[in-house]
């Protein structure tokens, strides 16, 4: 299956329910394994959480836009916000150790980085930040194990 699905919603966490549902439907049509489907859904939710909280500062007047692009061998998801962005290169170099329980926050990007095959950020001046997630698709029967 190939195609594009776009959803846009205000910056309110209650809409993450809809994101989860849409993600499930999109992924279901890709015939990926259960684990891969979970990893995609989890990563998209993380990106949306960051877009709401950090990008749009929980401002309901600012929207989060998700574009699901399904190709024969991969799924690409772009999550866009209206924010000013952040120094993601610096952050990626200094991701906190996830097992440090003195930090109760800060695991979202780590999760996305480890569950998806590609994680990129694009800052468009005046238009906000885009998080780009990509996962290579494997046939359901050959769904590999978790990445180390």
């Amino acid at each position: 299956m190939s195609g594009t699905v776009v959803i846009e919603f205000p910056s309110d966490y209650k809409f993450l329910n809809i994101v989860d549902l849409v993600c499930g439907e999109v992924v279901q049509n890709l015939c990926v394994g259960h684990q891969a489907a979970n990893e995609i859904a989890i990563s998209v939710i993380e990106a949306c959480t960051n877009a709401i909280e950090h990008g749009n500062r929980e401002c309901p007047d600012e929207n989060v836009r998700i574009v699901f692009s399904c190709k024969s061998d991969r799924i690409c998801v772009e999550v866009g916000d209206c924010g000013k962005g952040f120094d993601y290169e610096c952050y990626l170099r200094n991701i906190p150790e996830p097992t440090d329980i003195n930090h109760i926050r800060g695991r979202g990007i780590y999760i996305m980085k480890n569950m998806m095959d590609t994680l990129d950020f694009e800052m468009v001046p005046g238009k906000g930040m885009k998080v780009k997630l990509e996962k290579l698709l494997k046939h359901k029967e050959n769904d590999g194990g978790r990445k180390d």
Binding site: N17, N38, A41, P98, I104, R105, R107, R146
Partner: protein, 114 residues
């Protein structure tokens, strides 16, 4: 998110229902934990059977509850962890921190074996 509390063999079981994703959930869970500690309950099991999904902020809420319990000489263990939550625990290596159980009796009994 809804939180219900019950006791089994001296162990408190918190039954969570809904989505664990931060916001008001953090305060309600934190309040529940502190209330338990005030009442002398330090061994708890958090039942995630009815949690639809969780994000990293929600995971932070569980971590906060865990550290609070541990600081007060207790522990917090997880019950009925879904595949999605298990994936998050595995990727973040928090599966090495949280003890997880698929059976309520086993979760409760685990405190007897401490």
């Amino acid at each position: 998110m809804r939180i219900d509390s019950r006791e089994k063999n001296g162990i408190i079981i918190l039954d969570l229902q809904g989505k664990l994703m931060g916001g008001p959930d953090a305060e309600s869970f934190k309040s529940a934990i502190y209330k338990l500690i005030e009442n002398g309950h330090k061994k708890i099991v958090v039942n995630l059977h009815s949690i639809d999904w969780i994000n990293s902020t929600g995971m932070g809420i569980l971590i906060s509850g865990y550290t609070t319990m541990r600081r007060n000489g207790g522990d917090l263990r997880l019950l009925h962890v879904s595949d999605k939550i298990r994936s998050i625990l595995y990727v973040t290596k928090l599966n090495t921190i949280f003890k997880c159980f698929d059976n309520e009796d086993d979760a409760v009994a685990s405190y007897e074996n401490d």
